[in-house]
Symmetry: C2
Subunit: 375 residues, 2 copies
């Protein structure tokens, strides 16, 4: 692809993938061919390997077609036993989405709500679980993409385990970009997608679950398509998906996992994302933009900025001017604050952020703002 | 791609796509970018156009991420009203799958079963609907990929309409390859996939539904992910998917629809598939293979052959020998007959079938069979 056509997607996904990842989609493969079955096996094993999990150990990977939300729905629908009570911890839109999924599935669900600019508090979760000892499953988002805030997985896992409940983690936008210790965090299942920090194309999610959890979930799913137990059994028995898999998308993910290993694993990728974030935040602060989330809670995935208070600043022309220069930023999603977001994941390097910052500065000067912006 | 790497997928999908279709996946696009929103709009409109349906008319297209089965589940779960009774007509595995979907969703479902080698009989359906006047939705498979048999859509639509029930069609493997008259067939909704006769890559299904049906289905879905009403509203309001779409897969489908139009529309494609089928069936018959489905019921999508009765013939080495030569055929799925299948759809031309037939003849001679095979 000519350089000029490359768009920089400063978004939480779909995001930039490498040429090698996209080129791996140039081959048609039959879904029941041995060569494709091997690709599926590689994907399942390499997701465990990059996480330092033993493929013969406690956990296994169950991929699921569709968007990441589909895998979240599959996990909630498969792992919540009939008549079980589910608690969802909410500090943003993705927590609320899990509540909506559970309500659609007619599951007995409670939500514990926090401010969107505040991390979920383990002490409050522990207190809630004392009040409702019949809660058997607790679900949380790791990095709330609404703001980019990080929730304290290890402490939340500890209070959940202490209450004898299962711990489900939506790590959609963090998995692959932030190291997660499954054992320390007491994770029973974690859901993510090919199309975030693994830097592959969208169209596939996956669940990393304890094999014992999958075994116990036979017949529990509220859906044929989203039955993770049946999906797992199909893959174990024949190596094949039950229903047509997105073959090209899976070949891309196979390549993306190789690329991640070549980069030096999750630690190296995390360092690159942290570096992207440092450049972005210091540059934006210098221009006078204010981040919404305090620094200690900020993930290296996406950053949210207040809209400048100056009424002459409008998001749409700002977005469009940047988009015309192949720089795609992201609208805000925080309920009560006018904000916008800039993602720091994907196949993006330091120079992409320097280029973005220079362009933002140029836009502000062209449109007559004094820098730094007044807030 | 070097010619030698090209595999011929004589399967019901994933199947062969053109170089142009695959190359359209080489671009990363943001899912909320105006350019991508335009691609989604093109896909939705062009699906109607190739079907001779007016984009401003009765029907609309709702795409859904994942495999075709996901779209079937979405249609059943969205369009079956609470407490409504659903009848599914079954003459193969895909009809049975719809029954399983409805059972998982706790829907009041009946099935009317026919032999797998027999088309669904409209008279029997009419009689059943007289017995159960409270059935409000009838679902059938158009071309049962189990065998390749065609069901009589127009007559089934007529008896369903006469019973004042809604008519839902699973046209997964026929849409785009066989002309379907929505008005004559009295279709309320039809489900298909990008990855069959539209000759695009897997990862997206879609539902063509009456707008009035969608309007009446608000709040009915048993799932957040598979809520076709909400998916439709999202697309109408912002042009965007509610949840991350498989952007590359959608760009491929946009190109595949252009290609279909360039080929001369569904009629021209249907003619190519019929020609593929004629070459295949006459060649296989000449070698002594017997088709399972009588000729008048046989679709141009996939053909099922009896395994030769000679006990020396085994499917696995036959399959493997062909696969080593990049010719991928398909195992059988008929319950009570040992059979195998050869697909005639996808980016396959007459010469691919001549090449396949020569290879099969060569294999049979090499392994010591006298031709034609004795049956």
């Amino acid at each position: 692809m000519p350089k000029s056509e490359r768009k920089c997607l400063f978004t939480p996904g779909p995001l930039n993938t490498s040429d090698a990842v996209r080129q791996s989609m140039l081959l048609d493969k039959g879904s029941r061919e041995p060569a494709f079955i091997q690709s599926v096996k590689n994907v399942r094993q390499n997701i465990l390997k990059i996480t330092d999990l033993d493929p013969d150990g406690l956990y296994t990977v169950v991929p699921m077609q569709g968007s990441g939300t589909f895998s979240i729905e599959a996990a909630i629908g498969t792992f919540t036993a009939k008549n079980a009570k589910l608690l969802i911890l909410v500090n943003g839109a993705y927590g609320r989405r899990m509540v909506s999924i559970a309500e659609h599935l007619d599951i007995d669900v409670q939500s514990l709500e926090f401010e969107e600019t505040e991390a979920i508090c383990p002490l409050k979760v522990a207190a809630h679980l004392k009040l409702y000892p019949d809660i058997s499953l607790v679900a949380t988002v790791h990095c709330e993409t609404t703001t980019g805030i990080m929730n304290p997985l290890e402490k939340l896992g500890a209070v959940t385990a202490a209450a004898d409940a299962l711990f489900m983690v939506d790590a959609m936008s963090s998995f692959g970009g932030i190291k997660i210790d499954f054992s320390k965090c007491r994770i029973d299942c974690l859901v993510s997608s090919a199309n975030k920090c693994l830097e592959s194309v969208p169209g596939l999610g996956f669940v990393i679950a304890k094999k014992t959890l999958l075994q116990s979930a036979q017949g529990q799913a509220r859906s044929l398509s989203f039955d993770l137990h049946a999906q797992w059994q199909g893959l174990e028995n024949s190596g094949q998906f039950r229903f047509t898999p997105p073959t090209h998308v899976i070949l891309a993910l196979e390549k993306a996992l190789e690329t991640l290993t070549q980069e030096g694993g999750i630690e190296a990728r995390s360092e690159r994302y942290h570096n992207n974030r440092r450049i972005l935040l210091s540059g934006m602060t210098r221009l006078g933009f204010r981040p919404v989330i305090e620094d200690s809670l900020q993930s290296p995935v996406i950053a949210t900025f207040h809209q400048p208070e100056d009424p002459r600043f409008e998001f749409t022309p700002f977005y469009q001017w940047l988009a015309e220069r192949n720089l795609i930023i992201y609208p805000g999603k925080v309920s009560r604050i006018d904000s916008f977001r800039i993602g720091t994941i994907g196949d993006l390097q330091a120079q992409d952020f320097h280029h973005l910052l220079e362009s933002i500065e140029k836009y502000l000067k062209l449109t007559g703002f004094d820098l730094p912006l007044k807030n």
